[in-house]
């Protein structure tokens, strides 16, 4: 045995010591609280420290108040409508994917995830060209719908595109765990198919429903880049704003006009508080409310269970996917194909793309290094109060709109004096804050499914905790780690709102695309979107390849 082996051994022994493990977990929790949670809600302290400025700049100015309240109301209205639509059309889709066998099911399964790989900036542009009445300078293809003139309706349609996969995935995940024998038992007891599903399976569904609602609602509430692009693409958006786009616009102006800080703080505070309240309500109330599922209408439900009705349901589910999700997502390709080529300077875009890429890589690495240990801690100490609180706190950056999060985080790091607030560092920290929960959530979920007795047995067989993780646990949760990291990576790559609101003058790829659209360089924007889509898609293919390889080995 050579000396290098001994060095590794010594390292393994060192990190396996009880003291090291305790301080390591303390560090992980401290990191999470100080670098993720605290900056996310820091702006709430402004209600105390900066109240006077908020009072004079915002509350005393009726026009500003109206504008802010209007934007926030629009945000919540949109999020609510989007979530309801997602549920109504997502449930039959999840059902088809889990319970039905048909040719092309795998293909359909892949199609659902497609909008996830398209960065929202590209989605916003693509959907707007398809749906909205666009300015003539744009030369939208003649087969574009070009019918939508209401900005609100356009944004709803846009948000459905990227939140739909989340709803379908959450519902399908839970549905897979619900044993079909319950339903079959119900049917042998005389219930029709529909009655059995409605009264037996659906009530078991709540956990998945809550996850789906939180994901859809918060994604819609957060979305900035795509929304801004869609609004500037349509012919006449008439000063329509959502909460996040208001933050985006004001933050850009605040570079030259620092008086806007109180307005920004006020919008952010409102968005954060309302989002948190909703999170609590969902977590506490939805799980407890008793739905009136007991009532049964045998005859109509029997009719609805047979013949043409179920077929029509499945058909319209697939049609919805095609018309409302897929075509708007990829319409950009036909736009670029039919437009006359414009010559542009590609250097700035490629620079911004490289920059975005680098940020996404660094962010993903940080998420993994510090997120997996936190997930381990939460999943393996379920009885401890602290891990329960951490489990709830992890959701906070997910539900807080990223634009508000970015603003809060930017203020936090510039208000403190210990660490210099370099723009790139701030962007990394902001992206870590909202992508970190994605890794933690995924890994915690996977780990909770795995019996702790595997690791315990490994330890009694002589494995140090780190060896047990490496050799036993890691191979079992590898696909969830990969899924989490790809989500984090693509989210970071596509994020506009947080980037804009944390630092006003740094150009990432999505921010650059927003600028191209704002300056009417539609063709270049389209091409840039396509490149972004290809990069993201390549990342997803890599994930599929890696996870498939793993399944083959089992």
């Amino acid at each position: 045995m050579g000396p290098p082996m001994k060095r590794t051994e010594r390292l393994v022994n060192f990190v396996s010591g009880r003291k090291f493990r305790k301080s390591w977990y303390a560090f992980i929790i401290a990191f999470f609280l100080i670098f993720v949670i605290l900056p996310t809600i820091y702006v709430l302290t402004y209600t105390y420290t900066q109240w006077n400025a908020i009072q004079s700049n915002v509350l005393d100015n009726k026009e500003t108040v109206d504008m802010i309240l209007g934007a926030i109301a629009a945000s919540f209205e949109i999020a609510a409508i989007v979530t309801i639509v997602d549920f109504v059309v997502g449930l039959p889709m999840a059902w088809m994917l889990v319970r039905k066998k048909f040719r092309g099911k795998n293909f359909l399964d892949t199609l659902i995830d497609m909008p996830l790989v398209v960065p929202t900036a590209a989605l916003g542009f693509s959907s707007a060209i398809f749906w909205a009445a666009t300015p003539s300078a744009m030369n939208a293809p003649p087969f574009a719908l070009g019918a939508i003139t209401s900005p609100m309706l356009l944004i709803i349609l846009l948000h459905i595109v990227f939140s739909y996969p989340y709803m379908v995935r959450s519902l399908a995940a839970i549905l897979e765990q619900i044993d079909e024998t319950y339903e079959i038992a119900g049917q042998t007891l005389g219930a029709s198919k529909l009655t059995a599903v409605r009264t037996i399976t659906l009530p078991l569904f709540r956990a998945g429903l809550v996850t789906g609602i939180i994901l859809c609602f918060s994604r819609s509430l957060s979305e900035t880049g795509g929304t801004m692009i869609a609004l500037s693409t349509m012919a006449n958006s008439a000063g329509f704003n959502t909460g996040p786009t208001l933050i985006g616009t004001w933050k850009k102006l605040s570079g030259s006009n620092p008086d806007l800080i109180p307005q920004l703080a006020f919008v952010s505070i409102l968005l954060i508080i309302i989002a948190l309240v909703l999170l609590v309500i969902l977590k506490l109330v939805v799980m407890k409310v008793r739905l009136p599922m007991g009532k049964v209408w045998p005859t109509p439900e029997k009719i609805l269970s047979r013949g043409l009705v179920p077929k029509m349901k499945d058909g319209s589910t697939v049609l919805f996917l095609a018309v409302f999700i897929l075509i708007p997502s990829f319409f950009i390709f036909s736009f670029v194909a039919t437009s006359s080529a414009a010559v542009g300077d590609w250097a700035p875009f490629l620079n911004s793309l490289g920059y975005s890429f680098a940020i996404a890589v660094i962010v993903t690495v940080i998420d993994l290094a510090l997120g997996i240990p936190l997930a381990l801690y939460i999943a393996r100490n379920p009885s401890k109060k602290i891990s329960h609180s951490l489990d709830i706190l992890v959701n906070v950056p997910l539900i807080v709109p990223t634009a508000a999060l970015g603003f809060s985080l930017g203020q936090f790091w510039t208000d403190q004096t210990l660490i210099p607030s370099v723009p790139t560092l701030l962007i990394i920290l902001a992206h870590v804050a909202f992508t970190y929960p994605l890794v933690v959530r995924n890994v915690t979920g996977a780990m909770e499914e795995i019996d702790p007795s595997y690791e315990e047995t490994a330890r009694t067989l002589g494995a140090k905790p780190i060896q047990g993780f490496r050799r036993v646990l890691y191979p079992m949760i590898k696909s969830s780690i990969l899924a989490g990291s790809i989500m984090a990576f693509t989210r970071s790559l596509g994020e506009t709102g947080a980037t804009q609101s944390v630092v006003s003058d740094v150009i990432t790829a999505p921010v650059y695309i927003v600028q191209l659209v704002n300056t009417n360089q539609y063709y270049l924007a389209g091409l840039a979107c396509i490149i972004l889509i290809i990069v993201s898609y390549a990342a997803m293919l890599l994930l599929r390849y890696l996870t498939r390889k793993k399944q083959g080995a089992l």
Binding site: M1, M5, E9, S16, R18, S383, D451, S453, Y454, E456, T457, A458, R459, T460, L461, G462, A463, K464, Q467, R471, V472, P475, M476, A553, L554
Partner: protein, 363 residues
């Protein structure tokens, strides 16, 4: 192989006491069964010995050395969980080699250990199979080989036969015990199955509510139970309560309705409140009217070799008797019968201020 000693172990989860002053010693190379009802704290005891659960107080000694603060990986005490926890992503051979790989043994030692272990558990031909491709019995043997290959000195078996079907469970009893005994490994086997414990153990420790009630050889705990609980848990017993009326080699007890019964020798005084327990196998029924108690046959249960006759005794409740199946025609439901036993087969338990129901409660 180490002698294991537990001293004053306490562990509670909220208001539940999983270990409440737990103490016992397992001798070097001994096969000890921890027997008790569900929730008695058997698994907690095992986990504390393995080092996976930290006791609130008390100490664990291996060969006189305090190991309470030693990490699980340094105890050489391998836990076999109910489901075996075979690593699903590793083959049989990889599972068996887990310990040697972790400890970085030289290659030739690893190869030899693997060959020996697979041979020992007769799985050489399945070494490349994944756990899910194996039968329950094979999985159990793989887990055992994996434990032994890691250089285990203590084997901690948590209901190791539970997941197997009835026939296999019985044939593996002998196999498991003889393997552990031939290797001289100190073994603690947790079970709630009294037959399993009686057949397999050198000694049985009966635990209840986080405490050892009685520890001894199978014959000792079966024939000389020290509490109504032990008497009932190992081979079901019939009980009656009363006060001692006469002590003279044998003990005479009279119940509240004035019926007098005879029982074996006991260290009790006249007038003391006691319970008398008679194993169902020692409870005889007859149609002649000279037994201690009279009752009416309520039902008969055919169990293959034996039949159980349940008799309702007025004011006392149900008494069961196990008789050979050949006598099944003697009794039918509604018959008036009389119940008797040889006095030395009836055990007297001092009740003090406790009630019999509390003594017997299983939870």
């Amino acid at each position: 192989m180490p002698e294991i000693k537990l001293e004053g172990i306490r562990k509670h989860y909220g208001s539940i006491k999983a270990a409440d002053g737990l103490e016992f010693t397992v001798k070097d190379g001994e096969y000890l069964c921890l027997l008790g009802p569900t929730g008695a704290g058997k698994t907690t005891a095992l986990r504390i010995i393995a080092g996976l659960t930290e006791p609130d107080s008390g100490k664990v000694f291996f060969d006189g050395r305090d190991v309470t603060d030693i990490e699980p990986e340094d105890r050489k005490a391998v836990l076999l969980s109910q489901t075996y926890s075979l690593f699903p992503h590793m083959t049989v051979a990889e599972n068996v080699l887990f310990g040697p790989n972790i400890r970085n043994w030289p290659e030739e030692v690893r190869v030899k250990t693997l060959a020996n272990m697979l041979d020992l558990v007769r799985l050489t031909r399945r070494s490349d199979a994944y756990p899910k491709e194996l039968s329950g019995g094979m999985q159990q043997r793989t887990a055992l080989a994996r434990a032994l290959a890691s250089g285990a000195e203590v084997l901690l078996l948590d209901e190791p036969l539970r997941a197997l079907d009835a026939r296999l469970r019985i044939s593996l009893r002998y196999e498991l015990r003889s393997l552990a005994k031939s290797l001289g490994i100190t073994t603690i086997h947790v079970t709630h199955d009294q037959d399993e414990a009686l057949v397999m153990a050198d000694r049985i420790a009966v635990i209840r509510k986080g405490k050892v009630q009685q520890i001894g050889t199978p014959i000792e705990v079966f024939e000389r139970p020290i509490s109504p609980f032990v008497a009932n848990f190992l081979g079901q017993s019939n009980f009656l309560q009363g006060s001692v009326t006469h002590v003279d080699g044998m003990t005479e007890v009279r119940d509240e309705q004035g019926r007098t019964v005879a029982a074996g020798t006991a260290n009790v005084e006249v007038g003391e409140r006691v319970a008398v327990g008679i194993k169902v196998g020692n409870t005889e029924i007859t149609k002649e009217r000279y037994g201690y108690l009279q009752g009416i046959v309520e039902r008969t249960l055919f169990e293959g070799r034996n039949i159980f006759v349940d008799v309702m005794v007025a004011g006392l409740g149900r008494f069961s008797s196990r008789i050979p199946a050949g006598r099944s025609r003697e009794f039918s439901v509604g018959d008036k019968v009389s119940i008797k036993w040889s006095p030395e087969k009836a055990t007297v338990f001092r009740l003090k201020d406790r009630s019999l129901d509390d003594e017997l409660r299983v939870e």
